[in-house]
Symmetry: C2
Subunit: 299 residues, 2 copies
């Protein structure tokens, strides 16, 4: 079954979704279909959908809402929340229960199935509402094109992610949650350009929310080498095996933090939503028909 990375990369977004639906694609979607938007998935019982939508509207940086099911139970038709993008442009012939590579399922806040290839048997046709949330692949691609490739990509690692002490603005059932951030190392001389390049990606976390060594205290991160998700942080120079924070400081390397799409999943877990909640398996996103160039204005 381990097609995906080992097979030839599909060239169209519809081909990716078709392979997913046929259970012939199980790999992460990073680097697939460059120039097209990808999305995080969260599926909730309808009762909690209005509060979650407000949570996204109040916390647009970590929880950028791209689209939402048109009606409870509808796995095909979505309402676009992307300016200038019609509902019909989101993903032709979509079946959200099948068209991502892998899914996770939670019952009463506990993981009951992971990396499964379909949501069909968990999907309530009268109740489940799906949310598509922006992901960081868009701005990472732009950084690479600008000559600022994130080191974790070059080193084939997962970006490090951290819980912070920065509160989300609560919404109804969703209280007590905090920002999750992703981190990429850059030289301090590059931060201004990194901010400029990523600023226009408003629907996919946009520019960094904090940078520099002082920001660790602001964010409440005690050990940058021990992220809560992903791999420990790396720099591009792979001749360096272990590198201390002091050495980074000497070289002018600083951490740069972005709002992270894990935030809404954490908010859902924190709210202990009863019943069946579903999402993509980390890294296994929905590949959409939407072109990045149609969503993000040139800077």
């Amino acid at each position: 079954m381990a097609q995906g990375r080992t097979a030839t990369l599909p060239t169209t977004v519809r081909e990716v979704r078709k392979l997913c639906r046929a259970n012939l694609w199980d790999a992460p979607t990073s680097g697939v279909a460059p120039g097209y938007l990808q999305a995080n998935l969260i599926v909730l019982p309808a009762e909690f959908a209005p509060d979650f939508e407000i949570l996204c509207a109040r916390n647009t940086v970590p929880c950028p809402l791209l689209a939402i099911s048109k009606a409870p139970g509808d796995f095909t038709n979505f309402q676009s929340r992307m300016p200038g993008i019609a509902d019909s442009q989101i993903a032709f012939g979509l079946d959200i229960r099948h068209d991502l590579p892998r899914y996770n399922v939670y019952k009463d806040g506990v993981l009951v199935a992971d990396h499964i290839d379909s949501l069909e048997k968990h999907w309530d046709p009268k109740d489940h509402v799906a949310f598509l949330i922006g992901c960081s692949f868009s701005f990472e691609d732009a950084l690479t094109k600008a000559g600022l490739p994130p080191a974790h990509i070059a080193r084939d690692c997962t970006v490090p992610m951290y819980r912070t002490k920065i509160p989300l603005c609560p919404a109804g059932a969703f209280t007590g949650s905090k920002y999750v951030v992703s981190m990429r190392y850059y030289h301090e001389s590059e931060v201004s350009l990194v901010r400029d390049v990523t600023r226009r990606f408003i629907a996919t976390h946009g520019e960094p929310i904090a940078w520099g060594w002082d920001s660790l205290e602001t964010l409440g991160i005690t050990n940058i080498d021990r992220p809560d998700w992903g791999d420990p942080p790396v720099i591009a120079d792979d001749s360096v095996v272990v590198r201390s924070v002091e050495e980074h400081k000497t070289d002018g390397i600083v951490p740069v933090f972005w709002g992270c799409g894990v935030t809404p999943q954490e908010a859902v877990m924190k709210a202990r939503i009863p019943g069946i909640v579903m999402g993509h398996a980390p890294g296994h996103m929905l590949v959409m028909d939407v072109k990045e160039a149609d969503v993000f204005r040139p800077s």
Copy 2:
């Protein structure tokens, strides 16, 4: 000149703006034209408008953007950012330089004129861009109708406002800013209803961002009786002259905090924008043609 409060209240929003334009209205607009939206005003040099617009998009709770000048220098035509509200519905015949009761003007970050009745001589017809930002009057009216009137209104005080340590998500030139919050005391048994009543007012700060005595530490507020703006907090019972925090705690009274429209003004000050920046004088808002019922869905 002190018409306004002492004169008969005008009954239509257009009459309010007409009186402002004729310099016959100089009072705060709290309580004027119930059911109609009011707006905070911020005017910036065009160079800083794109960053400020992104600042609002990234911090929707304290900085809810309602409308923006259609072109630099245009003081009449605005583009609506309110879902379902057309540009033509914002404010008929508007001249943003005259139609608010009172204005403040800053030069290179320093206040150079306050409570003036017109911006005409400061307005650059080729450069200035005006932003209309949601204000808390809408949800205060709803709280009053729900039997939860904010005590500062009954006691004829200004709502207390506080700087916090919660960072705004930065945007371009606007870095290093923090949330400003307003506070209203409620009994702990009322907080759930207070949250429910204010939730739908997404374009005017929505539901509280924090509540309870523990939230003072989260927000970084050291002395609730010494707000950074407005009057010290009061409770509705005006037989009580001085009331300690310990007495409040004994009675189950808790502070409830909302995102505050002073936040974007603070962000502009913090960014030390060069040139002429303008805004409304505190409490002296733009009264719009937009009905609250057309912007906020019933809960």
